[in-house]
């Protein structure tokens, strides 16, 4: 018999974890002598009170959807991919190469090419840790952490020594051509007569991210490969008995995961900066871990969690602008969400299970 209903697992536990994280964050804000209620109000108006705020919220959310999906897919095969950051960095490099060196006639073709290039670069960066895990048993968590650092060194080298335009001091590539400028939400919504702020960088990648959510859902629950991934994640020995190859599943899952992280490049590199800069990912790869943990393995959950973190990011930026609460508050909230939804899961779960068991006993 199930210990508690499915809705409690999917909705109640993340909500309780979120409330706990919010409560401790409020204590932190009190500790530095500010009012948590005021801070929340400012965050809500700053992030959701205008189309300007929404534009930034959705821009950040787009990044987090990609990296959150990346971590989620790997979780289904019980692989912990901490390397989303490095894979997204390389994905950005792939996007930049596709955008800089081919004179695309139209942004739509460029978007397809850049998506493929970014995904391939991200997947390639995940391929080595995946292969090492599958063939040599090297712990994927450690190797993907190491690959994050190697990625940042590679990017640093490429930007400083190879892709930097002559005479420029800034370690960044040239600006991409204006013909491949991705339509922003403002430009997309204008023909429909919906006014949307011009300033924020939210762009068509948001729609690609939603499509990616649907694709991941279909992959995990509607295909043979998705079934194999879940079976392998559930019990490795059972999967092997059913004729599923651990090597194949590990490598393919990590390629998909890395590809999704690499896709993030179309949003932050092609959509926002329109050139590749150092530290373009800004930690979005790590936020993917929090998003995936909150999203409970389902793309719909990842979508909602990504919007939540987009809100936190934009709200936190507004806080840093108007109050003396620094941006680091977001990192604290992110840490608390990871802590409560991931590491301290049993702390929330066990008492909840006992309550449901007691309720059920009363009924019968």
């Amino acid at each position: 018999m199930e210990k508690m209903p499915a809705w409690a697992d999917v909705i109640l536990i993340p909500l309780i974890s979120l409330v706990l994280a919010a409560f401790i964050s409020a204590l932190v804000i009190l500790f530095i002598g500010q009012s948590p209620a005021e801070a929340l109000k400012l965050m809500v108006t700053g992030a959701l009170g205008s189309t300007y705020g929404w534009g930034y919220t959705l821009y950040y959310a787009t990044n987090f959807i990609f990296t959150g999906l990346a971590v989620t897919v790997a979780f289904h095969a019980r692989l912990f991919n901490i390397g989303g950051e490095g894979q997204a960095m390389l994905g950005g490099l792939g996007v930049a190469i596709a955008c800089l060196y081919v004179p695309w006639p139209h942004w739509s073709i460029a978007l397809v090419a850049a998506s493929i290039s970014g995904a391939v670069f991200g997947a390639a960066w995940a391929a080595i840790p995946a292969w090492l895990q599958a063939k040599r048993g090297s712990h994927i968590v450690i190797t993907t952490i190491m690959f994050n650092f190697i990625a940042s060194a590679v990017l640093n080298y490429v930007l400083v020594n190879v892709m930097r335009p002559k005479g420029s001091m800034d370690p960044a590539t040239e600006r991409f051509s204006q013909t491949i400028h991705l339509p922003t939400l403002h430009e997309i919504l204008l023909p429909f007569g919906i006014p949307f702020s011009k300033a924020p960088p939210a762009n068509i990648s948001f729609i690609v991210a939603i499509l990616a959510c649907l694709a991941v859902w279909a992959l995990i629950w509607r295909t043979r490969l998705g079934y194999e991934i879940r079976a392998y994640g559930h019990t490795e020995t059972g999967a092997v008995y059913a004729g599923i190859s651990p090597v194949k599943i590990t490598v393919i899952t990590m390629l998909i995961s890395g590809g999704l992280a690499g896709l993030m490049g179309i949003n932050n590199v092609m959509g926002e900066a329109e050139r590749l800069v150092l530290n373009a990912t800004e930690g979005a790869g790590f936020i993917g871990i929090a998003v995936a943990l909150m999203g409970r393995g389902h793309p719909a959950g990842v979508f909602l969690a990504a919007i939540l973190f987009g809100f936190l990011y934009q709200g936190g930026t507004e806080l840093a602008l108007w109050t003396s609460i620094p941006r680091e508050l977001i990192v604290v909230i992110q840490a608390l969400v990871i802590l409560f939804t991931g590491a301290l899961d049993n702390m929330v779960r066990t008492p909840l299970q006992q309550i449901f068991m007691a309720l059920r006993r009363k009924e019968s």
Binding site: V28, I32, G33, F80, I82, I128, P129, L132, R136, G137, S138, H139, V141, I142, T143, I145, M146, F147, F149, I150, A153, V154, N156, Y157, V160, N161, F286, I289, L293, S324, I325, P326, E328, L329, I330, V331, V332, I333, Q334, A335, L336, I338, L339, G342, A343, L344, D345, N346, M347
Partner: protein
């Protein structure tokens, strides 16, 4: 390269290897007891901040050291709570601790000192300064040995000597004491330890606490000896390099020393030379930056001897009912 330059590079190798070594030994205790710890970085960062803050306010570096150890211990307790008491995922707990430390140190530093997330520079009285070992003056004129003694061996802060002494001490504790035997056993086969009537939870908490203390010293060393004050994200991935050194050393204390000296040397060389010219072939500085991580991946891949972690590492222990 002449002798003086060589000595200077080796001298800075020793300085840079010290925090790596302390953090590496910290991880060694924890992981040998079966608790994976990727939160070394966060614990060091928290200790670096609080030690610098307390040393600045009180003017006493020893109080700073204690405060740093306290900060690190608090995070270690959180890790223990999550991974031992609530049997959560140790890796996720470590990730959370790293972010928690990164966020809280920046936040509180800005709130307390309002200098963009750093502490004010520490005056020399509030730092660990170099100690002159005996006979430095007497030995100075002796060629070769004199400069080696004066530059390389003498003149470091007390924490450096402490870190190097921690290596034989760790070896002795792990391999020559009853506690060490049990600690290693609990990382390999906790059920056997439990059957013998020894508390698995107690041993693991002890290991995590030792890890906290050593990370605290490592962080305090960074902020009060290596540098004069705390800067945002000042540990800059050293916790992960220490983790890499631990794997490189295959979870053994003496090898940990050599691994940390090697990675310290890489850092010292990268710090001194931007690009290294080896007879026409220029090695860019980024290669030096990435080398510890690349080496670790190669070791993990088992191409140069296999690195086998403690068998029960990462697994929460559940007593049979």
């Amino acid at each position: 390269m002449d002798f003086d330059v060589l000595l200077q590079v080796l001298d800075s190798t020793v300085r840079l290897a010290t925090p790596l070594l302390l953090a590496c030994l910290a991880g060694l205790y924890s992981e040998r007891a079966g608790i994976f710890d990727i939160g070394l970085e966060g614990k060091m960062l928290a200790a670096a901040f609080l030690s610098a803050a307390v040393a600045y306010v009180s003017g006493n570096v020893w109080l700073g050291l204690l405060a740093g150890i306290g900060a690190s211990l608090a995070l270690a307790a959180l890790h223990g709570l999550a991974s031992i008491t609530f049997r959560g995922d140790q890796l996720i707990s470590g990730v959370a601790i790293n972010f928690l430390a990164s966020g809280l140190t920046g936040l509180i530093a800005q709130d307390w000192f309002r200098q963009g997330g750093r502490t004010p520079s520490l005056p020399n009285e509030a730092r660990f300064t170099g100690l002159d070992l005996p006979f430095v003056q007497t030995l100075e004129p002796v060629p070769v040995i004199g400069p080696i003694y004066a530059e390389l061996i003498s003149g470091h802060s007390i924490l450096v000597y402490l870190a190097f002494l921690a290596v034989p001490a760790t070896w002795w504790i792990l391999y020559r004491t009853r506690f060490g035997l049990r600690l290693r056993a609990v990382g390999e086969n906790p059920a056997a330890v439990d059957t013998a009537g020894i508390s698995v939870v107690g041993l693991r908490f002890a290991a995590v606490a030792i890890c906290g203390v050593l990370c605290g010293v490592a962080g305090a060393y960074m902020a009060t000896a290596l540098q004069a004050g705390f800067v945002r994200e000042m540990t800059a991935g050293r916790g992960y390099i220490a983790l890499a050194a631990l794997i490189f050393a295959k979870w053994r204390p003496w090898y940990a020393l050599w691994a940390c000296l090697l990675f310290g040397l890489l850092q010292a060389v990268a710090l001194r030379y931007q690009n290294i010219n080896l007879g026409g072939v220029v090695i860019p500085v980024q290669v030096m930056d990435a080398l510890p991580y690349v080496l670790t991946v190669v070791i993990l891949a088992g191409f140069v001897g296999k690195a086998i972690p403690p068998r029960a590492g990462g697994e929460p222990y559940v007593k049979e009912r």
